[in-house]
Structures are given as structure tokens and as C-alpha cells.
Amino acid sequence: MFADLPLLSLLIWLPILGGFWVLAVGRNDSSAPVARAVALLVSIVTFVLSLPLFFAFDSSTAAMQFSEKLAWIPNFHIYYSLGVDGFSMPLIVLTSFMTILVILAGWEVIQYKVAQYMAAFLIMEGLMIGVFAALDAILFYVLWEAMLVPMFIIIGVWGGQRRVYATIKFFLYTFLGSVFMLIALLYLYSVSNSFDILAYHKQALPMNVQVWIFFAFLVAFAVKVPMWPVHTWLPDAHVEAPTGGSVILAAIMLKLGAYGFLRFSLPITPDASHALEGMMITLSLIAVVYIGFVALAQQDMKKLIAYSSISHMGFVTLGFFTTYMITAHSNPASAAMAVEGGMVQMVSHGFISGALFLCVGVLYDRMHSRQIGDYGGVANTMPRFAMFAVFFGMANSGLPGTSGFVGEFLVILSSFKANFWIAFLAATTLILGAAYTLWMVKRVIFGKIANDHVKELTDIGARETLILTILAVTVLAFGIYPAPLLDVMHTTVQHLLEHISHTKVL
């Protein structure tokens, strides 16, 4: 029944148009309630429309599904071409899911330019879904760049005190990165006479060209993930961003970089990826270990969670780039666990980091401080909140039974097949992750009431409880029964591994 609907187009354009609708109805702050209601409605409808992607998804094929293709600029072979596979589909559903929560999270908190705030998130939702669904390189690039604009506005308008520094850093970093990607895409066009991403997958390329293209992509994606050493924009951006901005940034935008590796780097330049695996694994492990230590030293809750995000994303890239070492010992299928672990980690990190930023937001809304030192003994005055904070803290520490465990577990298990020491370093997250997360929990949540501000805190209300409950249930559900999430990606992963095991060098 969904085959006839241009579902992906709906998912892209509904929130974008919905965003403009919100702008139209909420031109001044007196009509904010209407703007909120419309925004929520649009986000819920978008989410509901994204569900058929999951339920009607054919997990037996690696081919693109729900495809659409229209000529856009035929002279240059540019098409409006969409489709999803096992990599992009879960991320699209994640995007539409998180957007609802972000709209809800900003419900009472945002009192200034409400409609614009809501609209920015809806428009961004559409653009992000578009990036995941795009199969045309130019379409991908346009959406990829366009996405920066709403985020730039969100941080710049509703952000904290140093928002200007943070937005410029964020914008320059990501923009600079993507320029190199554009060059790579134009080069690929020049050799294949096409902007079809899937055609690039089949394009034979000599080794030196592959290396150049790999690095061009790497700059773009590494900034987004972010990987060490191009990660320093993220803590600044998170600290200044409003809660909703942080949630979207951590939950979805970081995933775009990792997605880029799956969609572009690995399949287009498999030989370069192979040759440079050592570098990629090293950078991933630096993210896990080095950033883990840096997180330990943070005094600002948002910075701590931002560093924690970088560390957790290290598992994603680690999973993706250990594949060659694993297959060197056995057949390509044995590396599937690494890639799937990375994918699960992406989705799970979306929920958990989103939840943690929401938790910080809850505290920030009440005390207007993100400093760990300003808190202490919050559990005394906010017991219900404390329960959620401890739960998500545990999920962030990778406790089995939560989704945070699944990805790390799979990546550590499979990286052991690559090399003992890789697994050894990756597994330090068991200690480091627990140390920085639970130490923060201890200092903020536990202990005696630290000061009068904490004493006057009020516990979370129905709306906040609802948001955190939804996330907690999701985190638990994927921790207890992750099979459905993996089942949709098996064939796609298999196909990727099969594809990258063949050399492209002629």
C-alpha cells in the first residue's frame, strides 16, 4: 500500500513545508501556542509516516527501496534521486523520532521566537532525512550544506553567551570539510559522467586517485563525526547550543559523518580504505581512549557529554574500519559484526546522548548552570529526575540491558578478531566510560544538598517525565531485544562487505 506513495519525498518535504507553515501561523510570540501545536503535529505525522519504512522494509535485499527518481538538471545528469537501504532507513526513523522529542523539549522552555525555533527544527529534520535518502551526489551535497543553516541559526539565536564563537567555529569547520567532498564529487563526475552515488560504487579508480578521494571525503566526514583531531568544534557547539540543538547535533548530525563512510568512503574507495585502515583505526582508538580521559577532566556537564559522544562515536568508526583486518583472517561475513556493531552504536548513541543532553537541559532550565560544581545532592529534591539521570548514566556506561551495551559489545567482540590490542584499547571504555559518567552522576545527583539553589529545585513535571520515559523505554527495548534493528541491516552489510572485498584498482 505504501509502494505508490512517494514516502521519502513526503518525509523530506512535509517537515520543511510544515516548518514554513509554523512560521506563517506564529509570526509573533503571542501565537506561540499555535506554533507549538502545529510543530508537534507535523513532527508526529512525519514520524508516523516514517514507520512504514521500517515495517514495510524488505530486509532480504540490499537494493535501494522506496526509490524515487526525477530529472532535476538533466544537462548535468543531476537527478532528484532518493532511496533507502539498511544503513539509511534506521537513521531516518531515528531522525523523525528524535525530532518529536526535541519539539516537546522546547515546549515551555523556549519563550523567544517560538515559531522560528520550532520551524528551524522541522526544516532541519527534512534536510537531514534528505541527506540520508539522497542517492544523487549533488542532491546529497546541497542538502548536506543546507542543513548547516538551520543549525547555525539555532545555536546563533537561542544559544548561550559565546554562541557567536561557537557558531562560526562550527560553520567554518563543517563547511571547510564539505568543500573537499564537493571537489571529490566533481572529480567523480568527470570520470563517470554521472552524479549517481551508486554508479560511483562501481567506478574503477586507480590507487592514487582513490587515496586523494578518500582524504577529501575523510575531511568532510571526520569533521562531522567528529574524529580526533578535528573534534574541538563539538564541545563548543554543544555548550552554546540550546538543549534541542544539542540533542539533534548529538543524536543525528554526528551520524551523518559516520553514514558518509558507509555510503561514500568504503564503497567508492575500498582499496584506499584498506590501505589507510591503520590510520583510521588509530584515530578511532584515540577517540575512545584519549577523549575518554579528556571527558574525565571536564567541569561542564555539556562538555563532558560532548566528549563522551566523541568517544562513543570512536566505536562506530572503529567498527567500520576494522573490517579489512577481520576479513584478512576469515571470510567477509565475519566482519559483519563490526559494521553492524557500529550501526547499532549510532542509533543507540542517538537515544542516549539525546537523553543525557535533555537531562542537562532539565537542570539548566532550573538553575541556569552547566557547571558540575554548582550541583550536588539533586536526588534529594528531584528524586524522579535522579532516577532517569542514573539510568541514562548507566546506559552511557554501556550497561547490558540498555542499548548502549549492544554496539560496544559487538565492536569489541569483533575487533578482538582483528587484533588483541585493538580490542584491549577499545575495551578500556568499560572503565573510562563508567568513570566519567558515573563520577558526574555522583557529583551532581548524589550527596547532600549542596546549596540553596539545589534546595529549591522542583522535580520534573509531566512533560519532562514523558520525554524521558519514552527515551528510557526505547533504550531498554533495544537493549533487551536488539534483533529487529540488526535484522534490517544484515543484507545491506553483507552487500557492502562483499563489495569492498573486491579491488577497484584495474
Partner: protein, 648 residues
Amino acid sequence: MQNVYLAIVLAPLIGAIIAGLFGVSRRVAHTVTIAGVGIAFLLSLFAFKEVVFGGHTFNQTIYTWLVSSGIRFEIGFMVDSLTVMMMVVVTFVSWMVHIYTIGYMHDDPGYQRFFSYISLFTFAMLMLVMSNNFLQLFFGWEAVGLVSYLLIGFWFTKDTAVYANLKAFLVNRVGDFGFLLGIAMVLMYTNSLNYSEVFSHVEHIKDMTVQILPNTEWSLMTVMCILLFIGAMGKSAQVPLHVWLPDSMEGPTPISALIHAATMVTAGIFMVARMSPLFELSETALSFVLVIGAITALFMGFLGIVQNDIKRVVAYSTLSQLGYMTVALGASAYTAGIFHLMTHAFFKALLFLGAGSVIIAMHHEQDIRKMGGLRKYLPITYWTGLIGSLALIGFPGFAGFFSKDAIIEAVHHAHELGRAGSGFAYYAVLSGVFITALYSFRMFFLVFHGKERMDEHTKHHLHEPPAVVTFPLIMLAIPSLLIGAFAIEPMLFGDFFKNVIFIEHAHNAFHAEHWHGIVGMITDSFAHPPVWLALSGVAVAYYLYLINPALPESIKQRFSAVHSILMNKYGFDQFNEWFFAGGARGVGGLLWKFGDVKVIDGVMVNGSAQAVHGVALIMRHVQTGLLYHYAFAMIIGLALLLGVFVIL
């Protein structure tokens, strides 16, 4: 039977959810959790009958957690005699602790939360012991760790409590770090995480070697078993990962009994016994286990002598007894280790709950120097405490006697086999017997006998706690007295653990033909040192703390260096605080301030911004806006271009 096993696991979980999440009254909270654990206990007894007498072992998948790379990660139960024994012990002790809690936590505002946690713990522990695969084992392993964390920090306004729970969690994570690598290794070499598949595959890999460091060849089984054992060292608090257990006493006493004595801390022992088909293949790993256990058994016992906090004495005794169990494992006497695990669960839970009873009566005073003469005020606590203490020191006929003697016998056997480290271990466990008796009865005499050293107010209010507190004491005293005599023959000499625990024939210290009955064992024991060591420990304690109380003080003065080493617990805490905690914070701060802020942001990011700025400053001199400058530049440029063409 699958539904029965599901019910056993889920009943405590449902109780925990109701008590914890639905804001129910105190009455409802304790009713549902006690009912839940009670159901689990009764069904476990039924399962015991089915498995042990009916011979119906169970090994089935409940559901597939996920599939990846063709490997099925499953949740499933394996219920054999080892499991079912653990299930009965866990649910029974848990049930008793639940009942006891009604009295102990009576005035606590977190009453419902507490019941929810201990029921959740029971669920997690059951998942751990009933697992048929490493994944679920690890789930249960971490879940009991979580509940332990929550319960140590139950009184979260107490700084020492929230320090202790973080420490406990992190130290356990160090163990889990090794454990997880061990699991990864199992998966890599056997392509499965299911116990029976792993055990049947192990034949093919037992002679393999691995290269971890360049130019070294290590036995695969040794590396794998030691990695797995590191997990056990964390959970079962073996040196040097023992440091969290004494601090865990910051939690309420019922959980010290349930989690930090009877059940959770024995998870490591259980795991190694479960993995006996792996450990039996590496003598080196077994020696490692043996030595670690012996160090723990002996040196943690010493610390018990100088402690003055009633719970900490029992805690160090737990550490030492866990060392005994570990020694048994290292001597290939897995059955003896499990046997001691079981007897210890009863008598140590009893001792802890007895300590709790004393603490209630003393209005939360825990210093044994301020007690004394409590015998006449707390008769039930006294008599049950005596039974527990006699069981602990291995007094002939009591539960601990049989299990401890078996361990010593097994180490002796290992020594005869020439297992590395067993000589040291043998003398360690022998001396440990004396030490155990000394610190146990030091505490016992200081608490129950001698001068009444408490203040008048406390003395005035001294009385036996209510029946919900004393009933569990009596219920635990019965197995502390009897279970050893009942269980030793089937568990060690019979075929209770046949096809469950695997021991190479030559390694086995217990053969049916050596069994001369309980009476024979008791009379026999008087011809061997352990009993005399235990009795002399009691005698020395009696002399030092009742007859001549001034002497311990002068010994303390005389050997003040030794005393201060013991008081500082060999300096483990200071070292960890300085090196690991301080070091990690220092490294983190350095990497952040220097690596991120100075180098990356300072030099690379802002540096390149400044470079752009600098170049722009120079470049803008070119754009002067004067027409003749541009004209001049054009002419020069044209000339150069022409020159190039001419030359080419």
C-alpha cells in the same frame, strides 16, 4: 519446565517493578517483593527436585537477542545441579533478607526503593546463574553490579556511601574489562557463546597458542582462562581488586548479607566452576587462580584482626573466605569451592544479619569497642551468632567445617600433584584457619561477652529486635549447622556434579573410596592440624580479649609498624587513589588543557585562523586602489607571460 524457570526469574522482577515504579505503600512494597521472591524460592525447590532427583536438566533458548555474522546471541537457561543449587541458595537467602528488611529498614524513608532494589538483585542474580551462555552471564554479571552500586549508595546523602559505590562499580569494571576480553576470545576461537557449544569445541583449540606480545607464544587456554578469571577477581573481590568490598559496607546491612557476602560476590567462584572444562585445560591459569586465592585468603584475614567496625570484621572475613573458595578452584577442586560457597552463603548471611541485629539494638553503633556483654540482652542473636561463628571457623560438625576441610584437603592434593603455587597456598589456608578463628572470636567475645562498654542510654534501650529480624536468623542458623553434613557426600564424593563440573581424573582430590562418613571425618579431623588451629585461635581470642584485655593494647604498641600496615590495609587504597584515580584525572586534565586547548585549538584552529588573517593583511597591500599600480602589474605580467612563450 520453561514456564517454571521463566516464573522463577520474572517473579522477583515483577515485584521489583511494582515496588519501585508505582509509588505503592510500604505494605504493598514488601508484600509483593516477598511474595515474588517466595514464589521464586518455592519453584526453585521444585526445580531442585526435578533436576537432582528426577534427572531432568534443562538447556534451552528463550529468545534470540540478536544475530550477527551468523552467530546467534541468545537468552536461555541452563539448569543443572550446579544452577539449581545456586538458585535455591540465592532465593532462600534473598527471601530471608527480604523478611529481615521489614525490621531493619523500618524507619527508612527509602523503604519501597530498598525492596525494589533487592528484588531486582534477585532477578539479576538468577539470570546470572541460570544462563546457558556468556552473553546472559555478562548481563547478569553487570546487572548485579548495578544493583550493588545502587544499594551501596542507598543512603546517597552520605559522602562515604556515594564514594564507595562509585569505587565498587569502577573496580568491578576493571575486572569486567578482562572478562569481556575473555568472552571475546572465547567467541573468536569457538564461534559461539553458548556454554555447551563452547565446551564441546574446546577440544579443537586446547593446544593452540596465541601471540599477544611479539616473539611470545602463549597457550590459548591460559590466556583465555586468566582473562575470564580477571572478571572473577573483580566480582569475587580477589587481591588486588578486593578494595571495593570493605567499603561496600556503607550500604544497609541486609544487602551486605545478601549481596556482599552470600550471593553476588560468589558469582566469580560460580563462573569459574561453570567454566571448569576450560580451566582444567590450563595448569598455568589454575596456578594463577590458586596463588591469587591464597593471597586473598591469608592477607585479608590479617586485616580482620585489627578492624573495630563490626561489619568490616565480617567483610574482611568474607574476603578471606572468598579466597578459600578461589584456592579450591585453583586446586581443581571446583566442587569443594562450590560447596564452601554454599555453606558460606548461609553462615555469612547469618553473621551479617546478626551483626545487623546488634546494630539495631545498639542504635546504629558499629564499633565493637563500645559493645560487650550483649549476650543477655540479645539471646537469639547470641546463639545464632555463635552457630555462625563456629561454622565460619570450621568447628567440627558445623557446615563450614566440612567445606573448609575439603578445601585444605584439595590443596594438599594439588601440592602432591606438584601444581605451582600450591605449597604456598597450603600454608596460607592452614594459617588462615587460625586467623579466622582469632578475628571471629575476637569480635564475638568483644560483642557478646565481657564488660558492657556502651553508654547508659544505649544500655537502657537494649533489647532483642522484633521477630521479623530474629526469624531469618534462626532460619539461617539451621543450614549453618546442618547443611555441611548433609551435602558433603553427594557434592564432593557422589555424583551430584557429574557431567556438570569437569575435573581431570588425576586432579580430583575426592574419590568415593576415600569417604568414611561424617562421623569418620569428624573423628579423623582431630588427627590433623586445622581443627587444632581453629581451637587455638578461639583460645587466643579468649585470652586476649576476655582474660587479659590489656595485652592486645601492648602488642599493638610493641608492633606498631605492623599494626599501622594493617590499619592502612597494606596501602592499596592510598595507592589506587594516588596512582589510578589521581593519575587518570591528571592525564585527563593534561590531555584536555594541553592537547585539546593548547595544541589543537590554540595552534591548529586559531593558528590557522591567524595565518589567514596574517596573509590577508599582507595581501591587502596589493589592492591599493591606485590605477597606475594595477597598470604596472598588468604590464609586468604581460611581459613575463610573453617571456615564457618566447623561451618555450
